[in-house]
Amino acid sequence: MLRVDGLTCGYGRFVAVRDLSFAAQQGEALAILGANGAGKSSTLMAIAGHVAVGGGTITFDGEDITALSPMGRCARGIALAPEGRRLFRDLTVRENLIVGGYVRDARRTDEAMARVLDLFPRLKERLDNQAGSLSGGEQQMAAIGRAMMAAPRLLLIDEVSLGLMPKNVDICYEALDALRRGGLTIVLVEQSLERVLAMADRVVVLESGRLAWTGTAAQARGNPEVLGAYMGGVRA
């Protein structure tokens, strides 16, 4: 479904990711792991169209989307829940969800919102609150919910558990698991190794912007190479 071939991307002269290749199949959860600065978020942002691609191709459902705008990618079924959530803070939760479904037919907004509220019932009582006033956990739920409003086929999600209480991390991962079981393809970047290996089907490990290891989550568990890359190049 998603294929990244020889991706090189960065910011201005700084190259964050070099010659990276991997693929994600329909309904699969693919985790991108690595130490801080390994290029995980840059890879995700390049797939979403927010980081300039210097080389390589990104293919989605057989279509080359490398040069496509973020808007075009959204229309094709790619949604992003970015690092730091980046909710529209001055808008209410309801309005954030409406923006999430902007690309779809307006008549389907209520139906999509009902599905999001089934996924995160806690958002029901926060619908008319400003997004900036939510707790970290609620913001993450709203960010995932906003991404799901467009009924995407590929969800890109960055740092699900960062700064959240364990109970909220559980809620978010349970929701992601339910979505994956429903056929959604998920590419996630995560710091919590234990969490991500429990959920992911396959793992891509980055080190200094390059592919260091790839395999199934089962193979990654206890693998010293994966652990080493995750710890920042220190071999266990």
């Binding site: 705008s69 808007m71 970015p82 923006v99 690309v103």
Partner: protein, 286 residues
């Protein structure tokens, strides 16, 4: 009774400031550009209203034409002046905007003459009385026009999908794009609406004063800049409140301090006093 009349007069002036300044703050909120040339569009709206009313005899038709033509002119200003400068530091766009404003004023002087134009027949000269309060129909039109326009704008921004997308674009354009919002279209619509508001204000002022002249945008220009600072830059609600407050303060100042301070000076004494205490403005969003 004096206080009622002063507050009313203040609200009439304040509503005119509000219509101009809200347009200015819409541009600032989205692009972080101090759009000084907005006042030039205000003057253009006033001229078009007078010319078309004199040609057709229909004020409503003239106001409609002014808002549409000036709305499109505003989009052209964005396309031709600001869009090429978006990657430059903000002062570059500010200098360009001041240059365009001067250019517009001089163009009006060349095209329409230096002495001003007026309606062939004075418009809205009737007097309206509601209970003990009486006012000129032109004053009432200013008040009602501002309420209708600003309520319409508020409903558009709060109640429609496009308005929500617009506010999302103001908050985080990159994220707005990733949800499929055409942020370029939002910018054009933003300029159309802001400029149409300026034109409507120009039309109302033309009716109120029965005079349009090339430099009529100067005072609204610096006063609306003062208002958007007072309201908290980019804050639409704050701008509205600051405009009405300034109108009322001017009305009171004219009576109680008019002997030693000009009306415009009162506005700036107030601005300086507020900024000394709250440099972020009275109603800063954050």
């Amino acid at each position: 009774m004096l206080h009622v009349e002063l507050v009313l007069q203040g609200l009439i002036n304040g509503s005119m400031y509000a219509v101009i300044a809200v347009g200015l703050t819409l541009v600032y909120g989205l692009l972080r550009i101090l759009h000084v040339a907005h006042a030039g569009l205000f003057t253009l709206g006033a001229y078009i209203t007078v010319l078309i009313t004199n040609a057709t005899g229909s004020l409503p038709l003239a106001v409609l034409a002014a808002t549409l033509v000036v709305g499109v002119a505003g989009m052209l200003v964005y396309r031709l002046l600001y869009e090429p400068l978006l990657d430059r530091p903000p002062y570059v766009a500010l200098i360009a905007s001041i240059g365009l404003f001067i250019c517009m004023e001089e163009s009006y002087r060349i095209v329409f003459g230096p002495y001003g134009n007026s309606f062939d027949t004075m418009q809205l000269t009737q007097r309206i009385t509601i209970g003990p309060i009486g006012m000129a129909a032109a004053d009432a039109a200013m008040l009602v026009g501002a309420v209708v326009l600003l309520t319409g704008l508020g409903l558009l921004m709060k109640r429609t999908r496009f308005g929500i997308a617009w506010r999302a674009t103001v908050t985080d354009p990159a994220m707005a794009r990733s949800f499929g919002i055409d942020t370029i279209k939002v910018r054009y619509v933003n300029f159309f609406i802001a400029s149409a508001l300026a034109a409507a204000a120009g039309a109302l002022v033309a009716v109120l004063n029965n005079l349009v002249e090339p430099t009529m945008g100067s005072v609204p220009s610096y006063k609306s800049l003062a208002i958007i600072v007072l309201g908290g830059l980019g804050n639409v609600g704050g701008t509205l409140a600051a405009a009405l407050l300034l109108g009322v303060i001017e009305a009171y100042g004219t009576i109680y301090a008019g002997a030693f301070l000009d009306r415009d000076a009162i506005a700036f004494v107030f601005l300086i006093a507020v900024l000394m205490v709250r440099p972020q403005g009275l109603f800063a969003a954050r």
